[in-house]
């Protein structure tokens, strides 16, 4: 049984459809990649599933809770690492984690414990008490990820978490994600880096124009190009979404 099950999700902005009748199933402990060009509807999909945006129609169940009728319950079991770095840069890494931990409903002791654990997970425990504005872009991305883990979510949304990150930090983020999935956390991962999706994700969906146009394992998606010798996921992606630039 799917841990995330979305059916007919639809969202428009000022009459412009962003997501159109989206159906999606993600299984527990799976790393599920959502690939798409700019403006394809990836972030809108994640925001609806994370209960930040209300869908115009349709619904999704996460861990058995509806995002429409039980958003509070959904929020208790999810974590979101947004595309933009959403931190208080004039606070230390530890203070950020403590604050978001308390806001997530942890008591002071639990929040302190989780802050230490999450900072260790992203390998920032030695810099825990430095203010975030002194950190490099990669370190900020890791704090961004650590905050998403503070409430021990069963479903983790990672919206392009490695944008602008150095290879060392990126490798650390991959390790963290694999470890979390190994412990049973379900991950919904969006990225522009197709190679990243190919290496990291158990299954990948390609979204364009607000609709999922293909969905399979990375290897399974290769079969969509039977005439191409040793196709890559990028070949498949470009074959399905075209080569027209998407300036949004």
């Amino acid at each position: 049984m799917a841990f995330v099950s979305a059916s007919n999700l639809r969202k428009s902005y000022d009459g412009e459809p962003a997501v159109v009748d989206l159906d999606l199933d993600i299984f527990a402990g799976e790393i599920f990649g959502l690939l798409g060009p700019n403006g394809a509807g990836k972030t809108t999909t994640i925001k609806m599933l994370a209960t930040v945006l209300a869908p115009d129609s349709g619904d999704a169940e996460i861990g058995g809770y509806s995002i429409v009728s039980a958003p509070r319950e959904v929020r208790r079991i999810i974590g979101l690492c947004p595309q933009d770095i959403a931190l208080y840069e004039d606070m230390s890494a530890r203070e950020n984690l403590l604050f978001f931990g308390r806001m997530a409903g942890l008591n002071a002791r639990e929040a302190r414990t989780r802050a230490v654990e999450c900072l260790a997970t992203v390998n920032l425990d030695a810099r825990a008490d430095e203010r975030v504005h002194r950190f490099s872009g990669g370190m900020k991305r890791r704090v961004n990820l650590a905050i998403a883990l503070v409430n021990q979510p069963r479903l983790l949304f990672l919206d392009e978490p490695t944008v602008g990150v150095d290879p060392q930090s990126r490798a650390r983020i991959y390790d963290t994600i694999r470890a979390l999935a190994g412990e049973g956390t379900t991950v919904l991962y969006t990225t522009h880096y197709i190679e990243e999706a190919e290496n990291l994700c158990n299954r990948v969906a390609i979204i364009d124009g607000g609709q999922i146009i293909a969905q399979d394992t990375p290897r399974g998606l290769h079969t969509l190009l039977p005439d191409t010798e040793r196709p890559t996921l990028e070949d498949v992606f470009l074959h399905l979404t075209g080569r027209t630039l998407r300036d949004v």
């Binding site: 945006l53 929020r75 770095i85 978001f100 503070v150």
Partner: protein, 399 residues
Amino acid sequence: MRAWLLAGKDLQRFLRDPKALAFGLAFPVLLIFFTIAVQGNAGADDPMLHLYVATAEGSGLSHDIIDVLLDIEDLSIRTLEPAEASRALEAGEIGGYLLFPADFTEAVTGGYGTDLSVRVGGQALRTRYALEGLARDIAARAGTSRVVLDAGLSLLATPTAHDVDFSRVEGAFRELFAEDGFGAGPAVTLESERVGPILPPDPPDWSVPGYVVMFLFFTAALGAESIVLERRNNTLERLLVVGATRADILGGKFLGGVTRAMVQAVLLWTAGIALFGMNIGRAPAAVLVITAVFVFASAAFGVLLASLVRTPAAAHSAAVLVSLVAAPLGGCWWPLFLAPPWLQDMARITPHAWANAAFLRTLIYGATLPEVLGEVAVIALFGIAFGAVALLRFRPDAE
């Protein structure tokens, strides 16, 4: 609970932000200091006004009057020739002078009218009022003397006046024009007595409340910028995902504004009392209540502003504009009673005016809390109105 966590985090960030502290705490104290230094001892002086008098008569009644005036202790009368007085006035050396006409004695005794001239420079308001008062007094006494003279002459000319004691009438006339008393003395005289030194209005008592009102509102309004910035940075959205509701976030931002402003208010009042010797009035509780309600209204305005604008720059500009218009309009820079009536009426559209009025009544005129409850209620209504609109409009996410 989440709202308080959010407020605590905002207070922590405020207290460690040097720019916010400089603007919210240090700058107001410095501004109050400079304002008080500039006002100094203004109003404490009580200079004797010198009144200049000239007469175009070679001799006669005007000279008698001037002699009498010169003998009055509380008046500083100085005499000038008409030509010299005119030149000095033109040159700006004197503020003005009173001129007796050449026909003064003839006109007064002959019973036809003449004019006492008061000539003053445009800026010499106090000289003008003093000279006009003096001229009116002389005219009134001359008129009274004329009536008495006419009555005496009529009496003497009456055929049935054979039984009049002419020696008493003559005595009365002599007394009327005696040198030591121009005409008959008035039935009522005014006497002023100075009791102790004249104290100036205490500058801190006037300046501190206005600046407290201005900066509490200014800082709270500028808080809108940080709220919009948080929305831009997606931290508000992130708070939604970790379980905070829209009400938590709105309440937290409002409480953050309230706690920041209360810290600022405590510091500014303490500086006012401890550094500048401000008098807190008879009812410190009233000052506390007015401050708290004004803080409530200001914090609500900050959240309202954040709900109306999209960018941090727009929030900053709007906060500065509204604060700098509302402060003088609402009487933060000068007492509203000095403003024209239409401006006093217009000031009522600002919570500043009501707060300043309440502080003025409490700190200067000694009002107690029940006496300023009307103003307090109006300020609270401003806060409720701001909060209600914010509640309808506020969105934590950047959609």
